[in-house]
């Protein structure tokens, strides 16, 4: 029964009804309600892969927010071993068949055609962590430019001037924004950018490869620090540095991005830009809930969360130059 109207019925009667209902094993049938009211109380959530450590806190935030309104998330991991089938498209169709009331999308790239058509079909969408290229979808993201500025500021304060960037894929808004943020921050300090390598994906092995590319040019560039666009890249980079016999932070300082779990336990504990993952998921889900309540056309916001630098043992003053 509608919670707001319980008081209209005698308490004693109400209790008798509820006991009876329990004894008869009555359960409200949500499928019937969904059909009749056209509200499934579910939303679709698109993630690349829940196995990637950044996503569990985001998902937890989403579910905590949905929970408050009695919603469930239908989850799809879109990154699959077999890329021949378009997992995203399939997932969206299945979710639409389930009549999800909206979508939370953490898989956007800067040129996703499906996002546009999904939007044009009138679906409610909130992006998480990554924006699309056009920027006309509401989103909850971290201030990636600021994050990179914090990283560069920290290194400059330690005395570094020759700083390299281990960039993420430019197809992702985060990869692009962090590169731009890095360049901007360097400019503000009057520093020129000597080296940059772009990783193919946010993954450990891609980071290793990219770092090797950086190291190949090291004799020329003499960089003493590396800002990575992502922790996984940084971890891969750490491995490449170790193989090259370069000590972190003595020879090279390294900064990651995301501050994913366990990063304080790795060797050396990694300095990283902490992103509010849980908050990101929570706010995005709330935003979606609000959009579902409002009449269509209510203005939709983009929320930008503040990152924070967490200094650990992978950054130190550069070695004295042997001039």
């Amino acid at each position: 029964m509608d919670a707001q109207r319980r008081h209209l019925v005698a308490t004693e009667l109400l209790q008798r009804i509820e006991t009876a209902a329990r004894e008869l094993g009555y359960r409200p049938n949500h499928a019937a309600s969904a059909l009749s009211r056209g509200r499934s109380k579910t939303v679709g959530v698109l993630l690349p892969d829940i196995t990637n450590p950044v996503f569990p806190p985001i998902l937890r935030g989403i579910e905590d927010a949905l929970d408050e309104e009695g919603y469930f998330a239908l989850l799809a991991n879109t990154s699959r071993p077999d890329p021949s089938v378009d997992a995203t498209q399939v997932a969206i169709e299945r979710m639409q068949a389930q009549r999800v009331e909206g979508f939370l999308v953490a898989t956007a790239t800067r040129d996703d055609a499906w996002l546009d058509s999904l939007r044009q079909s009138g679906a409610h969408i909130v992006l998480i962590n990554r924006t699309d290229g056009r920027g006309h979808l509401p989103a909850v993201i971290s201030d990636d430019m600021l994050g990179m500025r914090l990283a560069v500021d920290h290194l400059v304060a330690l005395g570094h001037t020759r700083i390299a960037h281990l960039a993420g894929p430019e197809t992702l808004s985060t990869g692009l924004a962090r590169r731009l943020g890095f360049e901007q921050a360097m400019r503000e300090h009057g520093l020129t950018i000597k080296t940059m390598a772009v990783a193919e994906a946010y993954a450990v092995d891609a980071g290793e490869t990219a770092m090797q590319a950086l190291l190949a040019k090291r004799s020329k560039t003499q960089f003493t620090a590396v800002v990575a666009a992502n922790d996984l890249l940084a971890l891969g980079g750490l491995q490449a540095l170790q193989q090259a016999g370069l000590a972190v932070p003595q020879a090279i300082s390294v900064i990651g991005h995301n501050d994913m779990p366990l990063l304080d336990q790795v060797n050396p504990p990694l300095t990283s830009v902490r992103i509010q993952h849980y908050e990101m998921g929570f706010r995005a889900a709330r935003l979606l809930m609000e959009a579902l309540r409002e009449r269509p056309g209510s203005q939709e916001a983009t929320v930008v969360l503040r990152p924070q630098l967490v200094v650990r043992a992978s950054t130190a003053a550069p070695m004295k130059l042997k001039v």
Copy 2:
């Protein structure tokens, strides 16, 4: 349209129909189907907390298996900051309202009343990773006894004889089974168990506390190695050892359990018993799918997966005794 009967219709007509359907924006309404057929194509998944690194691979396995049959998982994180409300009970009721066809439960303790009543209500249930106390529910678990044997065998082969156990909560089947496995393995080697500490929960800080308890008795017991029931406990233990100025593995060898992600990157890289998390989720979901297909009363299996020892740098031969 039913895939098995497509051929009964002229291909050309079929295509015209499908184009028309697409143009009209037709989407099959699953809510209606669910109501009419009594099948929601969803199952409930109960986890303590997706943020704990062991669960993402399990969930991924579950979803990959469900995906094959067009099912979605409705997820609930039952461990909540405010324990005053029984999150499990609430989640189950909401899932039943959504008419989930079964439950995948990774939160079982050895004395859960709700599990029994859920079972008696006729729900299909498959347990994951942990069993209940009575053992009359189908489950997919890892061979915890074997896992501990692998750990002890490895330490004995290195020359250790005084081995301590950092046990998990006895309310969980894994905590109990691993302790029993440890004791059994020690017995097989003719070794007596000098020290054991039981952690309150599978968490880093609980591991730290428990290790401190072990260390308090160290002058008497002189243990040279610790087998932890869980990686988080081992990580906490590592911290306590570091604070006590004991080097790992030179002074003390440490073995974890689960081989969770990033464990190869911590300092020192942790030797651990690898559990097939993904497989566990995948098989459990498959088992549930089968149970849903069969007539009621079909015999239900418990699947036991083989763990595997992953040797890294946290274990070494014991220091020479100064006799």
